[in-house]
């Protein structure tokens, strides 16, 4: 599951980092929920900028010796809370939205600690991971924003949110049971 934290044989460190969020489904689910939240708002640039700034803080924080590893259930718990917000269609203020995106960025960055052992390779992996996070969240949010906002579509987003709630609940319970 966490193979993406190291380099992939045969491809460069930066490209391994770019692929890291794709190879880590728990991160991908959080990114998808963030995109669902952001894409349904008319302006989603600012929360995503918050996310990317704090993701870089989290990614760089992994290189400091005093930051412990993230417990494996934390990304799942974050995804659960965020997807519940999608299901109940909670009206979020600008500041709370920014706070949520910042928190998500910090957690995802912090949970993407590379383990190649070489400082320069780690830095390349981190840079690639940051690029991967940018690409995925922006692309998915843009897809969501492009879809016409008809009631049936909004309902579809809520159904998708409820599926992600279910996935995260099962994921957390399976991880706690291991």
């Amino acid at each position: 599951m966490f193979l993406g934290h190291g380099s992939i044989d045969g491809i460069g460190d930066v490209w391994s980092g770019v692929l890291h969020p794709v190879r880590c489904p728990s991160h991908l689910l959080v990114l998808a929920v963030l995109a669902l939240i952001a894409g349904q708002r008319s302006r989603f640039a600012k929360p995503i900028i918050c996310f990317l700034i704090f993701a870089s803080v989290g990614l760089l924080g992994t290189q400091t010796p005093w930051v412990p590893a993230v417990p494996s259930v934390v990304p799942g718990a974050l995804g659960l809370v965020l997807s519940l917000l999608v299901v109940i269609r909670s009206p979020l203020s600008r500041y709370s939205l920014g706070g949520i995106f910042a928190c998500a960025g910090l957690v995802l960055g912090w949970d993407s600690a590379p383990d190649s052992g070489v400082w320069s390779a780690n830095l390349k992996l981190l840079f690639g991971t940051w690029i991967g996070l940018v690409l995925i969240v922006l692309n998915l949010a843009n897809y969501v924003a492009m879809i016409p906002k008809k009631p049936v579509v909004r309902l579809g987003f809520r159904v998708l949110g409820s599926w992600i709630v279910a996935i995260e609940v099962l994921d957390i319970s399976l991880k706690l049971n291991k």
Binding site: R23, L140, L174
Partner: protein
Amino acid sequence: MQRLFGFGDPCRFARRSAAFRGSSRLLVGLASVLYFAGATYVCAHTGSDGGGGFLRGFSHPWLGGDHVVAMLAVGLWGAILGRSAACVLPLLFPTVMAFGGALGVRGVEIPSVEIGIALSGIILGGMVLFSCKVPLRLAGSMVSVFAVFHGHAHGRELPASASPVTYSAGFVFATGLLHLFGIVTGELSRWPWGAALVRGCGGLIAATGLGYLFRVI
């Protein structure tokens, strides 16, 4: 043919094209989500636990006939109850089922789970057979109670070696697709022959539940 496809009216054709573009974007988005959800299964070449991936979770709900008929019945009943129920029930069922699944995974015992599953088939099938219309809250409560039983049974069967996220994703997608299949079939009830077909499906589901009840008692 012209009227059917809207070729005669440029405005209508443009509207249809726009709707098609919207649908195709939605499909592309859905395909992307499914692709990414299956990403780690594809990465099984790296030596990870490929046995517990997306496809394994996806295939799980289809293997138990008692579960399949109940999930189809939820979709069918939702379609009979109306548009809002067709949307709310499939939203409710996977979520509550996941909580039941979490109880099963954690080893929390619920009494008479198998009987509850059999009753879900009988009652939901009966609702479809007799086209019973009840308030949405009552329908939601009934479906939620049954979802706990189904989720608990699934939770007990979840393999310990499963890759948690991908397995869960496959499992939930399959459940959602079963509901969707039920809803689409239930929409046929707008036509007289379709209504008969849907009621027939309800009868079959109730009979399956009854057979399962005799087996577990």
